[in-house]
């Protein structure tokens, strides 16, 4: 954004930072909607502490002329709604980028920031030259990095403008988000009409609030001078596009595949799915909040046994409580889908940060051998398709399916083309139509291990289900031969499932002819593809972790790089187990922050230049 001629913008990232609970999320949604309405492909990601109010949080909204799925380390405009934001994002604005800040905040000494933890304090103080630096020093630092400083006291502005258009002081203060967005857009020269429309929409249920915010926006536009050299313009019409995050996409995919029942116990970041369905009775889903995850999983199993399509969402701690019942579903051949939203572990860990640390756990969850499938989504689009596929696999093969998601996918919202719901057809599975009397629910005459099924309660018939080993009608057996036969029948599902899927569903590739192949799973795909643009590298996204695709031929003779969000390289271990190949380079991240395009690019370049170690840890992020 240097030079005086307004630069044509292809790709722009706006960041807003402030205290958790202060409304910056609303601001980001608004900003995203405004750009989306102007035809931009928008993505927004959210970082926040495990805290309800007060701790530092920020969101990035990236708008580009083409769809994107990852984020840059450095942003184009940072709107700092409080002093802590000023202090924390010192090196996060691009040279030539813009910092919008409150001059009052800059007058604070670092030690006066009420929510800054010791580690951050120490680091920032050191970065600002030691002592207890006043945040003016932060401004200098930004300036040194060639960041343009725009002093705008947003809170006073909100009060002033609000009152100017007739609101009382308290109401006026509540328009801060609108003011922040309006000011940013005004600086960037983006037309008011889009903001106006977005506000009307956002507050559709409260016309008075809408009116006030629109007035405030207009007034801010009047007051804030656009930057001379930047011009963020609308680039088209959004058409049918939708703006959606991974959680909602996953919920929608399940509904499209016939979801009827979801029991849940609240947990971050998995609760968004059931909460969303609860708020939308038109989904037709019976959603029940229960006493714990043990109840959740067993209730869903009961519903599934009675013929409902049942699914759960949870994250690591809750999943841990579900493992016993997963084996129960496996042994009793009960369809069940668990969307496992991975977050920073181990234990409670970093509950609001992202990770891919639950793969090993998911693969081995439950004692004993039983068939199950594990797949991982890479994107919002995948979340929809995979959730539906998981439901259908569970129904067709009568087994539990673990659908891996993560916090990054859950809380990243993107503009995309609408899902083609027509492509999803709920799979009825193998159903017995003429069941009468005692029914061999676990018949050994089972193609691909799948015995025809009727739900419990089917009139005129009957059978038993037990968590013990059992005979064909479901009574307990300890007979060694029958035991072997049942184990073998169940195990047969895995090969049947693999055949039914075909390799196309199990992985996808991008430039597989390259000599260096990056392998990834889950949400690393977006950042990898963008980071490797123009490099002589190919990519393999492994969609199914269990069963694992047959990759040996594909990987033969290649240099292999694995990229994942966990310390030990859980996928790398799986790869070694399944293919005998250890990756030449393992690139991991486990600080809970999403990988940035820059750091992944740099890691790839190091691989190509021969400078990379066998094990590289990425550490970017605020």
């Amino acid at each position: 954004m240097n030079g005086m001629e307004p630069q044509v913008i292809d790709d722009f990232t706006w960041r807003v930072g402030g205290p958790q609970g202060g409304g910056i999320e609303t601001a980001a949604t608004l900003f995203a909607q405004v750009l989306a309405r102007g035809g931009w492909w928008v993505g927004a990601r959210r970082e926040y502490h495990s805290n309800i109010m007060g701790r530092h949080s920020y969101l990035d909204v990236r708008a580009a002329r083409r769809p994107t799925r990852a984020f840059f380390e450095r942003v184009d405009l940072l709107a700092a709604l409080d002093a802590e934001t000023l202090a924390r994002h010192l090196d996060e604005v691009k040279p030539g980028g813009v910092l919008v800040y409150d001059p009052d905040a800059a007058r604070m000494p670092l030690s006066k920031l009420p929510m800054l933890d010791g580690a951050a304090y120490k680091r920032i103080a050191a970065a600002l030259g030691g002592g207890d630096p006043v945040l003016e020093r932060a401004l200098e630092r930004y300036r040194e990095s060639d960041v343009r400083l725009v002093s705008l006291a947003l809170e006073p502005l909100a009060r002033e403008v609000g009152e100017a258009v007739g609101a009382d002081a308290i109401t006026a203060k509540k328009t801060l988000n609108t003011v922040a967005v309006a000011a940013s857009l005004a600086l960037l020269g983006y037309p008011l009409e889009f903001l106006d429309a977005a506000l009307a929409d956002q507050f559709a249920a409260k016309p008075k609030v809408a009116e006030l915010n629109r007035k405030v926006a207009a007034e801010v536009y009047r007051r804030v001078e656009p930057l001379a050299d930047v011009a963020l313009e609308p680039i088209g019409s959004p058409g049918e596009r939708i703006y959606i995050n991974g959680s909602h996409a996953s919920a929608m995919g399940k509904v499209a595949a016939g979801l009827g029942f979801m029991s849940y116990y609240p947990i971050t970041p998995a609760t968004d799915e059931p909460f969303y369905l609860e708020a939308h009775p038109e989904s037709g889903v019976v959603v029940v909040q229960v006493e714990d995850e043990l109840a959740a999983v067993n209730m869903a199993i009961g519903a599934s046994m009675a013929g409902a399509r049942a699914a759960l969402t949870t994250s690591g701690p809750g999943f841990a409580l579900m493992t016993e019942a997963l084996g129960f579903a496996g042994l009793t051949e009960t369809p069940l889908v668990v969307s496992l939203y991975q977050r920073g572990g181990p234990s409670t860990g970093l509950p609001t940060r992202t990770e891919q640390g639950d793969l090993r756990f998911a693969l081995g969850a439950g004692h004993g051998d039983y068939p199950r499938a594990v797949l991982a989504s890479a994107s919002v689009e995948d979340a929809f398709a995979d959730a539906a596929l998981a439901m259908n696999l569970a129904a067709r093969f009568q087994l539990p399916v673990v659908h891996l998601m993560d916090k990054y996918l859950a809380s990243t919202t993107r503009v995309i083309e609408p899902f083609d719901t027509g492509t999803v057809v709920p799979d009825p599975g193998v159903v017995a139509t003429d069941a009468k009397g005692v029914f061999p629910r676990f018949s050994l005459a089972a193609e691909g291990g799948v015995s025809p099924r009727i739900p419990v309660g089917t009139p005129g018939a009957g059978y038993w289900i037990t968590s013990d080993e059992h005979d064909e009608i479901g009574h307990i057996t300890e007979d060694p031969e029958l035991r072997d036969a049942m184990m073998e029948k169940r195990a047969a599902k895995i090969e049947a499932l693999r055949k039914w899927l075909g390799p196309e569903e199990m992985y996808r590739t991008h430039k597989p002819e390259a000599g260096t192949l990056v392998l990834g799973w889950g949400s690393t795909e977006g950042v990898t593809l963008e980071a490797m643009e123009g490099l002589d590298m190919g990519y393999v996204q492994v969609r199914f972790l269990l069963p694992f695709p047959d990759l040996e031929a594909l990987l033969e003779g290649k240099r292999l790089v694995v990229l994942e969000y966990n310390q030990s390289g859980q996928f790398a271990h799986l790869l070694a187990q399944e293919t005998g190949r250890k990756p030449d380079h393992l690139i991991v991240k486990y600080n809970g922050r999403p990988m940035t395009i820059e750091e992944v690019r740099a890691a790839f370049e190091a691989v190509l230049s021969g400078e990379a170690e066998a094990y590289t840890v990425l550490r970017a992020g605020v």
């Binding site: 499209a256 046994m305 013929g307 027509g422 709920p426």
Partner: protein
């Protein structure tokens, strides 16, 4: 075709110990279902793990023998998916009041239309006679290495605290009365629990058939009226609760059985119905297939960039 009592019996012979109270409970349950004329294929029995849990295999209904401690969640899942079914959940005292105690409290808050049976033998039968949560402090049945260090929990009191709307106690060897209690429990629209005193001749040598026989009596026969109206004055409420608490905690020379509490509160299915269009008719297992795509599209409309 007329249903016969035999239609409720499966082909499998029980493998309980001779003299086990479970025989009586099984028989009472079959009798209750038969007397109510419930089609066996429209009944689902759901148990946990334990000697008690084997019961479901001996009835010719649908039977689900779940995990230790989990009959209640599974039973609720069945019921909410298909509210047309008669669902009876059952648990050993270890299953229900130990590892499953959290679900006991949880289900009480929902009041689904279920009958829940506690097989109260004061021991963990299946794992060889350890103390169960209903065994008295200081008691030492022959299988224990030391006197019991924990106080007992009273299923009736816990059910009351948890919000159960029908609370009863039966005795495994009084099959006739037990069957009658089960009938009432099934007919009750909401959550019913029966605490069943169940002798375990193998491990519980303290509270045997002989010990119980002279002690158990029927409170309803003695005039105790368990019915609680929806609306009550403070004084009425006080009187009912006091009466319940007193009877529920009586234990010694006389041991009360019968119905202790019978209240009226919307079932969970009714509560869901206030919110989910058409439920229970539109319950996931009873509604006709189709419309999935339309439901997904309805959700999607809320996400349009330009509405």
């Amino acid at each position: 075709m007329e249903l016969k009592l035999a239609d409720y019996k499966s082909d499998l012979a029980p493998d309980w110990c001779p003299g086990c109270g479970d025989y009586g409970i099984l028989s009472a349950l079959q009798t209750a279902l038969y007397k109510l004329g419930i089609e066996p294929s429209r009944a689902v029995l759901v148990s946990g793990i334990g000697c008690s849990a084997k019961t479901v295999h001996y009835a010719a209904t649908y039977g689900i023998h779940t995990l230790h401690g989990r009959p209640l969640p599974v039973a609720q899942g069945v019921k909410l998916a298909n509210p047309e079914l008669t669902v009876v959940a059952m648990a050993g005292d270890g299953d229900g009041m130990g590892i499953g105690a959290g679900h006991f409290v949880g289900v009480g808050r929902r009041n689904p239309d279920l009958l829940y049976l506690i097989f109260n033998n004061e021991v963990y039968g299946m794992t060889k006679g350890q103390a169960s949560p209903t065994l008295e402090l200081g008691a030492q049945p022959k299988s224990l290495a030391r006197p019991n260090l924990q106080s007992k929990v009273n299923p009736l009191m816990l059910a009351f605290a948890s919000g159960f709307t029908f609370i009863a106690r039966g005795y495994a060897y009084d099959v006739k009365n037990l069957a009658r209690l089960m009938q009432q429990g099934i007919e009750h629209k909401g959550l019913a629990m029966i605490d069943i005193l169940q002798p375990c001749p193998t491990y519980n040598n303290l509270h045997t058939r002989e010990w119980f026989a002279p002690r158990v009596y029927d409170i309803n026969a003695e005039g105790y009226d368990p019915r609680v109206p929806r609306e009550m004055s403070d004084a009425e409420r006080a009187e009912r609760m006091a009466r319940f608490t007193l009877k529920a905690t009586e234990w010694g020379e006389r041991i009360p059985t019968g119905v202790f509490w019978h209240a009226d509160l919307p079932s969970f299915e009714e509560r869901l119905g206030t919110f989910l269009p058409g439920y229970p008719k539109t319950a996931p297992s009873t509604r006709p297939p189709g419309g999935e795509s339309e439901r997904a599209r309805a959700l999607m409309r809320g996400h349009r960039v330009a509405k």
